[in-house]
Symmetry: C2
Subunit: 214 residues, 2 copies
Amino acid sequence: MIYIKLTKRQEEIIELVKKNQPITSEQIAQILKVTRAALRPDLAILTMTGILEARPKVGYLYSKKGSNNIIYDYIKEITVADIKTKPVIVTEDTMVYDAILQLFLNDVGTIFVVNNGYLTGAVSRKDFLKIAIGNTDVHKVPIGVIMTRMPNIITVTDEDTAYEAAKKIIEHEVDSLPVIEKIVTDEGKEVFRITGKVSKTNITKLFVKLGSNS
Amino acid sequence: MIYIKLTKRQEEIIELVKKNQPITSEQIAQILKVTRAALRPDLAILTMTGILEARPKVGYLYSKKGSNNIIYDYIKEITVADIKTKPVIVTEDTMVYDAILQLFLNDVGTIFVVNNGYLTGAVSRKDFLKIAIGNTDVHKVPIGVIMTRMPNIITVTDEDTAYEAAKKIIEHEVDSLPVIEKIVTDEGKEVFRITGKVSKTNITKLFVKLGSNS
């Protein structure tokens, strides 16, 4: 995808047309204090791209076809599969203390929990902190007891956009989302394999990548 | 700032020129199986915007002037001042336990610490968790003892871009940056007032805003 940045004068012309439509090229030239000939390339670009509409014997009109929400279009092409990273996973019988160690060792914010290979729960740094300052003996309680359990976990799939993932993170006030794949077992039960995670860190990294001039 | 999205054919032309430059409009027309007249508006746009260069008797050349990094340009205009939010602040003599309560009450990831109104430290959820599972009595130790102390805190100012803030967050592996204002006291000492914070949450919210089609 390639975009062209409009020049200052082209933007001025758009503003003029928006406010005074219909407006002729003579009138635009007069206001901007330039010749009609000087305006020609700019008006050509603006009409050919559909931002302005040239109506014979009437003048120029502003057309809403020329979308200016570039970022939206661009961002909508980035999927969860593009930005997901490896999740840190423990089993339900892991002691809370050991899960916290995994959190530090891997420097992540959320631990995901599986049972028989399928996602069953998640525990955030915040959840762990709550437990740690409470009366729970973190060495004796398994993570399965304190975790947030499916289906109360907000999830995404590979095909979701990065934008949708970010929106879920903000709306549900969570730090990280497991990327899941739904499987129906032979017994007709729905289970979920975890194939990655998307966290605020992944979104922030994506933001940095988008803004990098390279 | 307004951008124009190139049409599929315009992108095809750019690719053709990139690979075969210099190339004449006749050659482009032949390859794309269209008439030269049909190509004229596209070539006009591509040269007027500086993406292609038309050299008489030579043909079209690809010019690197036409930047295609839209997001970069756009993001560079958003400053820390635009996205910062209210920081949660305690004084150095606050007990660790009470600081953790503030963290939960305000649902933030980092607590900032001041002394005489000036920023002296920061403590993240991760730091708190480390303390909480250790042997420290969180009810008896003031936060001033465990905090990361200035100048070892990564900071930003209002004028920095959101991009720079995000980059610092990723590079230094922190969750939140205090937004500071440097003040030189009457005694010539440099001190820092905290006026806000920028966290991964703020960046994620900004990303959602950028991607919102409204």
